[in-house]
Every structure is written in structure tokens, then in C-alpha cells.
Amino acid sequence: MTEAIAATARWQSCAIVEIATRTPAIKSFFLRLSETFDYTAGQHVDVRLTAPNGYVAMRSYSIASAPSDSKVIELAIERLPDGEVSPFFHDVARVGDTIELRGPLGGHFLWPGPSNKPVLLIGAGSGVVPLMAMIRYRKASGEPVPVALSLSSQTWGDVLFRDELLELESSLPDFALALALTREPATRRTDFSRRIDAGMVADVAARLPGSPGCAFVCGSNAFVDIAVDAALALGLEAGAIKTERYGA
């Protein structure tokens, strides 16, 4: 892993080939790599923007697309009102622009590889991005790994990748989906109308055909702490719970 990262973490220029509005606050940016790299679902890239006077801003974004032969990767970026880089992507960037990035990065929050043990995914908001890469990889690879996703969003309209997740729920065997809406009532019987809590995590984990072998949690620090405590209460070992917490 170390060598793979070292060999491929060079800066490269990528063209924006498509921009898709996902939710009111989140857009997907499809970038064509000039140098392809192999990555594992869950990894991220660093993006670097340079101003005319040489000032540089850098941020990390998880890859939403599943590893494939394609030279195009998808980043789903939430517009942070006080942000510096995300408003640039939302308000300024357009198809045909060139963006510098390096990757793949991150050697810990990684799809576990061949195993039949169920995987529990818990995300909030744009925290679903690295989890989506895992779900898409699970589908593309056909690995017989049961997966359950608990995804918290403010409203139905804020659910990132909602239509694709709903489609996967009906078409992908051994994939369970539970949406949790925090600012409006959920209408589906299998969803929740509240913030995450231990009962919700236990309920979603119980939709797996067996005890989860590992859990991936991505969201704000407060969200992750609640989800992790709930996963520990299910009997998961601390080392089997991997987290990504929003930074600044």
C-alpha cells in the first residue's frame, strides 16, 4: 500500500468533463485523469487550486466512483457557505476547466477486500461519498458481501445519491438501505424521522444476514461518536470500526 501510494501520488492535471447537481448543496464533478491510478473504494484525492499570485488552497475529497478502468472519477462536493474551495467548485468551475489533483490517498478507510462478512456503513450528509464508492464497488465486483447503509440527511431532497440508492435497494441482493431524515418526517416505513441513535444503528445492523465484520462511519465528529458507540454496543471490536470525521 505504501509503495502504491508513493508511486501514484504525483500532482496531475484533470479536465472537468461533467458537472451534475445532486442536491441543493451538493454537486458531482467528473474529472478525467491524465494519469490513471488504481484505488480502493474509500480513498480520497487532494485537490489544489492556484491563484494568479501563486496562492494555493488544498482540500481532500473522497472519491465517489467505484474503482474501474475508466479514466473519469467522480467527486461529490458540498458547498460550504464559509468555504474557500467548495464555493469555487459550485460557483466558478465549469466543464472544460483543468483542476490539479493527486491520489489515491488514505490507507485506512478502505473497503475490506475479499470476505463474506457483512459490512455496516453509517454516514451523514456528504459523508456518504466514500461509502457510496464502496456500495458501487460491491455492485460492480459482484462480491457476495452483505451491506447495510444508514444515511442521515436533513430532508428527502438532501439525500445524496438518493435515486441510485433506492434503485440499488431493489436491485442489489443483500443491500439494505435506511434513510434517516432529521428535519422532516420520513414517508417510507423502513426509514427514520430522527437523528442517529443507538437504537437506529442496531435496527439497521439487524437487517444484515449476520453480525457485521466491520463498520465504516463518516460524518461530523458528533455524529461519528454516536455511531461508533452504537457500533461498539453491537459487539464490534474498536479496531473493526473505521471513521472519517469532517475536519474544518
Binding site: M1, T2, I5, A6, A9, S13, D46, R48, L49, T50, A51, P52, N53, Y55, V56, A57, M58, R59, S60, E84, F88, V92, A93, D97, T98, I99, E100, R102, L105, G106, G107, H108, F109, N221, D225, V228, D229, A231, L232, A238, G239, I241, K242, T243, R245, Y246, G247, A248
Partner: protein
Amino acid sequence: MVTRGFTGRQSGSEPSDRIPPGQHLVDNFPVLTAGPTPRIEPVDWTFTLKVGPRPVKAWNWSEFNALPRTKMTRDIHCVTSWSKLNTAWEGVAVDDILADAGLSAPTPFALAHCYDGYSTNVPLADLATGKAMVALKYEGQPLPRDHGGPARLLVPHLYFWKSAKWVNGLQFTERDEAGFWELRGYHMYGDPWNEQRYTND
């Protein structure tokens, strides 16, 4: 390469000589941890100094708190690109830990070990001569659990993953042995001013 249409948020008032390349200032204190946040009560806490595999000395919480105290106010820099200025810490300088164990310069390198299984490598030269401490307080208060409480390593001049949270020991090693993130593609040394983020930077 200039990015079309990007000017950035350059206020002009920021003390740019204190912000390393690729970093931006934050006012909050982000929490980034790769797994569950451990719960360690001070009564259960111990700190062990080892040279190679050999334990040299161990302190419990009250013994460790009786060691000489050092205060430091420093700028800190996270590899995820945030920097925070003027953070105030109090703890026990690594020099004072070594002195209490009767050691001066055991080996050229060290690994910090932690309650959650995390580890990170730091050369002795970056731990000694007042450069680093085991921090017990942040901004005058006991270190919060999210930020590594009850105790974390503080090596403020290196990227902040080197300032290991929930630290429970220092192990001196003859060779520079990679820790948790260093085994996963991050730089062995991690100097923010040279942007040593990843292995070959």
C-alpha cells in the same frame, strides 16, 4: 498551474510567515481520528518509557502529574490542510520525562504508542531540547477526550498526526520505524514547511 477563476480567500491580514504552503487558517479545532475515541480514566492511565523492547520506567497519573510542568503556545498544522495559531498547552516536556527516567539520549528515534493502537515515529532531536511534550492541558483545561485526553504527545513543529492522541508510551528505537499513518503512505518526518505530507514528498 493557475486555476481559472480562482483567487482564494486571501485577506491580506493573515500572518503568512506563520502559515505553511497549502495550509489555511481555522478558528475551530477540528477532530480527525481514524477510529473510535477511547475512554481512559486518569486512574487507569499509565505512561511507559521503553528502550527497544525493554521498559525503563512507568508512571501512573499522579506520578506523571508530579513531574515538572512546561507551558507552550504554538501554531499547529494538520496534514488535511488546516492550521491553527497560538494554541496553548501545558504538560511534561520529553526532556523532563527522560531526566526522571535517568536517560539522556537513548537512541536517535522514537515511536509514540497510544491506547487505541495508534503509533507514530519522531526523531529524538524533534522530541528533546524543549521541542515536544506530553500535553495534559489545552487552553488551561484538562485535555478533552476528543483531543487526546487525558494525555497526548505534542510535537507542534511537525504535521499534527505526529502529536499522537491518547498516548501511553514512548519507545526509543535504533532505526526510524514507521508508525500507523507512515505505514499507510504518509511521510516519515512530516515537516509542514517542506510540505512533507506523503511518502515521497
